[in-house]
Amino acid sequence: MQKLTNKAVGSLRVHDVSLSLLKANDYIAEMIRAEMKEKNILLLNLVSSPGSGKTSLLEETIKRLKDQLNIAVLEGDLETERDAIRIRQHGVQALQIVTHGTCHLEAQMIQQAMPSLNFEGIDILFIENVGNLVCPASYDLGEDIRVTLVSCTEGDDKPKKYPSMFLTTDIMVVTKTDLLPYVPFSVDAVIKDAHEVNSKIKTFVLSALKGDGMNEWCDWLLKKVKEKNEKESIVIT
């Protein structure tokens, strides 16, 4: 017996929906944020172009702060474990996330890596994202603070050329300032452009190699760790 349908062949039905395509990522990011809050760990997401000095900044920061803070690092790269090895040489926990071609880290990758870290006594967890000034902007990793690095050799036009990254960042760190005498880079111009994209951005200007500006950066990190420990909300100032 054939069933009957009164629907004409080829008639269309429209579903009005609102399905966010990054919802899964944002959901996991909030889970990470909640876990870090419970553990009192300050979470920073470091992003920049490849070669801006994220690993060097981390190495110098670890050297200066490892007696005062317990630091752990998650390293993201397309291939190799080189960055995690560099960080481990400074005596801190570091784990490498190899993305095998994915151009950014996603919250799910952080969540997968977390059980492999020993969080006992950890004050601060740095995530070094894949070197890419585009895609990581769209992926919340549950961080308290997003830090974007711009090196002097890259040029001071980066904030306007990659606005979505500067729009979602809390901190801009201008790196490699020891090279300022040799390159046409204006610190004032990069700050002005960054503020036009994101008026709330806070800037550090430093050289991890020579140490200029490192004290200010480290003092600020110590202050933020303290805020996190006291369960205050983190204020980006």
Partner: protein, 122 residues
């Protein structure tokens, strides 16, 4: 840059939203793409066409709507269109990065073909 992985998210969103026997009836998927999402609509559509081959969604097509950036001025309360990523209010010249629109990456409409007489009787 990561259009293929966004396409996988589209497929996952459809699979979650619809019943399995509706998959093959999807004809159009409409998505809003905010300028700030850094997703190129043409590349996304092309990636989608490639990814659905051989899947139950093979008869569907992706339709994209680009959403310009709209910001709100905290100072004078005006909403303004952001051009060239200059988040400065044209009315009062104060900086503002409070985004109202432009971050979207959302499916807002799915069009399905109703089951035909033949399908119902399968």
């Amino acid at each position: 840059m990561h259009e293929v992985s966004i396409c996988q998210n589209i497929i996952e969103a459809l699979e979650t939203e619809l019943a399995e026997d509706q998959f093959q009836n999807v004809r159009e998927v409409h998505i809003k793409i905010g300028v700030l999402s850094c997703i190129d609509p043409k590349i996304l559509s092309h990636a989608f066409a490639c990814i659905i081959e051989g899947s139950p969604f093979k008869k569907s097509s992706l339709h994209t709507k680009l959403i310009e950036v709209l910001a709100a001025c905290e100072h004078c309360g005006q909403n303004f269109k952001v051009e060239d990523y200059r988040f400065v209010c044209p009315e009062c010249d104060n900086p503002s990065s409070t985004i109202i629109e432009g971050n979207e990456l959302t499916i807002y409409k799915i069009i399905l073909e109703e089951k035909s007489y033949a399908e119902v009787n399968q």
